[in-house]
């Protein structure tokens, strides 16, 4: 029969709508302002004692709280008012001291049964939540230069060991040029390098000497770059964790950039200090037994509590120059750690260790911990946070020969070796980084942005709903239902995939509202045309939908193509816009065609009718 949907189609549409309602629902529950307490040392547990201390601190300040939650080592206390967040944080931080990190957070209030179904609200972008955004660039050129210098040093040593005589080894525009004494040695050298260093392309060149020009493969360069970015990401994540931010984002962007977003943070200076913080490893020589007290310092060992050693104050080099550290096994199968330094660090290391063979060198691990003190200024208590530096020895080993860009620490247990390598890498940036972008959004501005965004959605929606109802009567109302359903499905989709909502994203939703009705307008004009052409109402509906479909499909597909391009090349806010726009197009196809058809069929389908309530002079 004409204009009757089969049951399964109606059920499918119902199912999609119910599903969408469930997954969009969490966004209806506004999050509670909360404070979050985490132990400063990773691995520590949250004890009942700490919880009662927090309760006490909040009680003293008469700050109302509820819904205390402990998840792993993190405790969350919900507050009744946003204004209480800062005082609560200060009070709790003060009582707990620096053993714990207290941070502001927003606790979702999604009901249990929704959470159990995996539903959750959309995350808000920084422009809506307030916070700091950094873009950091990894200096790949510098990093690769360092790598090539390391190779040169390595070639020097290996060729000497192999008795392959050369005049000199030079770096020339990213290439290594080895000048052998004659062509015969060169061919031997060439095969030695092809066996041991397959990452190099070899080219022979005759000049003053028998030159061998080595070019590193693109693939290896990419490998290096990926390693450097990955290492820098890990280090940044470690550093960000020290900040105690609720939901930080540390992410690679493009080939050589890293985005760091810290919601809720306002103090950029402090954040930058920690992100870009200086060395956290120091290489120092052990002091001679009779050395002056002024030139030496005593430090404890990280692993053994009582053991200490006296070291020279002079620092050979710092963790900044460590580019890699890997546990491995030596020729005899004993565990060791291979350490790579950058060219600068390597040169200093060579210079110092040449005169210190037989002495011991220590690696000091440097940690910075925030310590808060409270002063009374003008009768008012002022909290002041300073960074306290703690240093401990993680390795003390005898120097067996002059060290260069890469050397190894031996005489370790296997577990020890991997632990040491981890510590050596933990704070090190594989490649230097600098800030190329920085944005701060105040919390009040974020709130204002949300308000304005929501207002424009409501106003835009109201205007469109009104216009459609007036112009297309009953059919207009059907389109309006579809439009509302479209927004619900769009929000559900975005919540499900964990997309971030930004202000341009909201603009995308608004634009979708305006454009989504297009499909219905197209269908309804077709139906009017068919009626005008003298078809019966039932036929007009059927023809209208069928004939408009291809047009709608073509038009939407092209818009979708543009949205995808926007997503691919855009960054930050533009991406947010592209996401909502593309989802909006897809969901609107479903609601504007399938859903309206189902409703129209339910109203008109399967019976004799004389006219349609579709407006116009029909």
């Amino acid at each position: 029969m004409l204009n009757k949907y089969p049951l399964w189609k109606n059920l499918l549409i119902m199912a999609v709508l119910v599903f969408a309602c469930i997954y969009a629902a969490p966004n209806l529950y506004p999050p509670d302002p909360a404070i979050q307490v985490t132990p400063a040392r990773s691995g520590a547990e949250m004890s009942e004692q700490v919880l009662s201390q927090v309760r006490e601190a909040l009680g003293d300040k008469q700050i109302e709280f509820f819904g205390e939650e402990v998840k792993g080592s993190t405790a969350l206390f919900r507050l009744t008012a946003t204004d209480n967040q800062l005082p609560a944080k200060d009070a709790v931080q003060r009582l707990l001291g620096d053993e714990y990190i207290v941070a502001l957070n927003l606790a979702p209030t999604t009901p249990e049964w929704l959470l159990n179904m995996g539903a959750g609200p959309m995350t808000l972008g920084l422009d809506l939540s307030g916070g700091v955004h950094f873009l950091m660039e990894v200096d790949m050129e510098e990093y690769l230069k360092g790598k090539m210098t390391n190779y040169r040093e390595e070639f020097r040593n290996r060729l000497r060991e192999e008795n392959l005589r050369y005049r000199r080894i030079q770096l020339d525009d990213g290439k290594v040029v080895i000048s052998f004494v004659d062509a015969a040695v060169r061919s031997e050298g060439s095969s030695f390098i092809s066996r041991n260093y397959p990452e190099f392309l070899r080219e022979e060149k005759d000049g003053e000497y028998a030159d061998l020009v080595l070019t590193i493969t693109e693939q290896k360069i990419k490998e290096f770059e990926n390693y450097a970015i990955k290492q820098n990401l890990t280090t940044l994540r470690n550093r960000v964790n020290e900040l105690g931010v609720a939901e930080p984002l540390v992410q690679r962007q493009g080939r050589n950039r890293i985005v760091v977003e810290l919601p809720g943070v306002q103090d950029t200076a402090e954040a930058k200090k920690i992100l870009g913080k200086a060395a956290n490893l120091e290489f120092r020589l052990e002091a001679e037994p009779g050395a002056s007290r002024f030139a030496t310092e005593e430090y404890g060992f990280r692993s053994e509590e009582r053991r200490t050693a006296r070291l020279e104050k002079k620092i050979i080099t710092t963790g900044d120059s460590v580019t890699n550290a890997q546990p491995s096994f030596d020729e005899n199968g004993f565990p060791q750690v291979n350490i790579d330094l950058d060219s600068k660090g390597g040169a200093v290391m060579t210079q110092v260790t040449r005169k210190a063979v037989g002495k011991r060198m220590a690696v000091l691990f440097v940690e910075r911990k925030p310590k808060t003190t409270y002063d009374v200024v003008d009768g008012k208590e002022v909290a002041k946070t300073v960074q306290v530096v703690e240093k401990s020895i993680i390795s003390l080993a005898t120097i067996q020969s002059t060290l260069g860009n890469s050397f190894r620490i031996t005489g370790l247990e296997s577990a020890e070796a991997s632990e040491l390598a981890l510590l050596l890498r933990a704070g090190a940036l594989a490649a230097p980084m600098y800030f190329v972008e920085e944005r701060t959004v105040g919390p009040s501005l974020g709130k204002e942005n949300i308000e304005q965004g929501v207002n424009s959605v409501i106003l835009g929606l109201a205007l469109v709903l009104g216009l459609m109802a007036i112009y297309y009567r009953l059919f207009g109302m059907v389109a309006n239902i579809a439009l509302l359903a479209n927004i619900v499905i769009l929000i559900a989709l975005m919540s499900m995939i964990g997309a971030t909502l930004t202000l341009p994203g909201i603009a995308g939703i608004v634009l979708t509202v305006g454009m989504a009705v297009d499909a219905n307008v197209l269908i309804f004009s077709r139906i009017r045309e068919e009626l005008k052409a003298g078809r019966s109402p039932q036929q007009a509906i059927n023809e209208g939908y069928n004939r408009a479909f291809l047009t709608i499909f073509d038009a939407n597909l092209t818009t979708l193509i543009v949205a995808v391009i926007l997503f691919a090349v855009g960054t930050g806010p533009v991406k947010g816009f592209a996401v909502t726009l593309s989802f909006g197009i897809i969901t609107s196809m479903f609601t504007a065609i399938m859903l309206t058809r189902a409703i129209v069929n339910a109203i008109y389908g399967g019976r004799r009718i004389d006219s349609l309530s579709i407006g116009g002079r029909v």
């Binding site: 972008e437 920085e438 424009s456 106003l459 092209t558 002079r617």
Partner: protein, 303 residues
């Protein structure tokens, strides 16, 4: 809607209007350039809120005297919100520094730093390149798609209409020196999507009518098609314009320029899908034969 408007008779007038707009736009872009936003130029931006409104030239001179370079100061949204831009490279605490300088000049007026942004010059340059590339890529892919779905002449018409829209929007932004930032760039791409949408609907009807209507020359068929879709074109433009109006009025200042660009896009895009795309079709002598699959030629075997 029972319109029967002879659009093709207005073709010449529309062509002149379009050319005029394009010439003015290109001239403005060439001579005045664009007021590029922070996203594209790099530099530092601070948004400061004053408790009581403060004269902008006073703020400007205060900052100039303090030694900051290329300072521009403008109100942002309200009298009390001030946007400060300068070419100063960012360093820690620059925001607080500037705030302190301004606070000193306006004692008794409470100042708050709402946001601070810094974009490196290199990033700006890259965004510019990427944006331009995205535009061209979008136009190119659209051209291929339309050529495949419709016919080559249609794709020339569609892409010409899109170029027309994009150039006029950029031209207006240049003429009035409105700030052209990343969101405006996003709006431009959205306009491409929107305007194309319109053009495709019209093209779809033209193609269908060439096949269905056995009589009438190209101008008549195109006219008929445009009139047929006019109701829909106006309705959709109206709904989109309404929501954009909502964005412009209550959406706040961060997306104001974005909404303006889209609004212009909707107006110009509607115009171009009616006049520009179809005019191009006319001047390329679109005919029924272009749209009907060529029949296999009979081999003439007579002597």
């Amino acid at each position: 809607m029972n319109t029967n408007f002879d659009f093709m008779r207005l073709r010449k007038a529309a062509m002149i209007l379009s050319l005029l707009l394009i010439v003015v736009s290109v001239a403005s872009i060439a001579t005045r350039g664009l007021n590029l936003g922070l996203d594209f130029t790099g530099g530092t931006l601070l948004e400061v809120q004053y408790e009581n409104a403060e004269a902008l030239d006073k703020i400007t001179s205060t900052l100039n005297n303090a030694g900051y370079r290329d300072v521009t100061v403008q109100n942002f949204g309200s009298e009390t919100d001030v946007l400060v831009r300068m070419s100063e490279a960012f360093r820690d605490n620059l925001g607080n520094e500037v705030l302190a300088v301004l606070q000193q000049e306006s004692a008794g007026n409470q100042l708050t730093l709402l946001r601070s942004e810094f974009v490196g010059a290199q990033v700006g340059e890259e965004l510019r390149d990427e944006g331009g590339l995205a535009l061209l890529l979008a136009l190119f892919i659209v051209m291929i798609y339309v050529a495949a779905r419709f016919q080559f002449k249609f794709s020339v018409g569609a892409v010409a209409a899109l170029f027309h829209d994009v150039i006029i929007i950029i031209g207006l932004f240049s003429l009035f020196q409105w700030e052209f930032d990343l969101t405006v760039m996003a709006a431009l791409l959205a306009v491409i999507g929107y305007s194309l949408n319109d053009t495709i609907v019209v093209s779809d009807h033209i193609r269908e009518n060439f096949r269905v209507l056995r009589r009438g020359d190209a101008a008549e068929v195109i006219n008929f098609s445009i009139n047929q879709t006019l109701g829909r074109t106006i309705m959709t433009s109206l709904t989109t314009a309404l929501v954009l109006l909502a964005l412009m009025v209550v959406g706040g200042d961060i997306i104001h320029n974005f909404s303006v660009a889209l609004m212009i896009g909707v107006v110009v895009g509607t115009y171009s899908s009616v006049f520009v795309a179809s005019s191009i079709l006319m001047s390329m002598n679109i005919s029924r034969e272009d749209l009907i699959p060529p029949e296999v030629e009979e081999i003439d075997d007579r002597p």
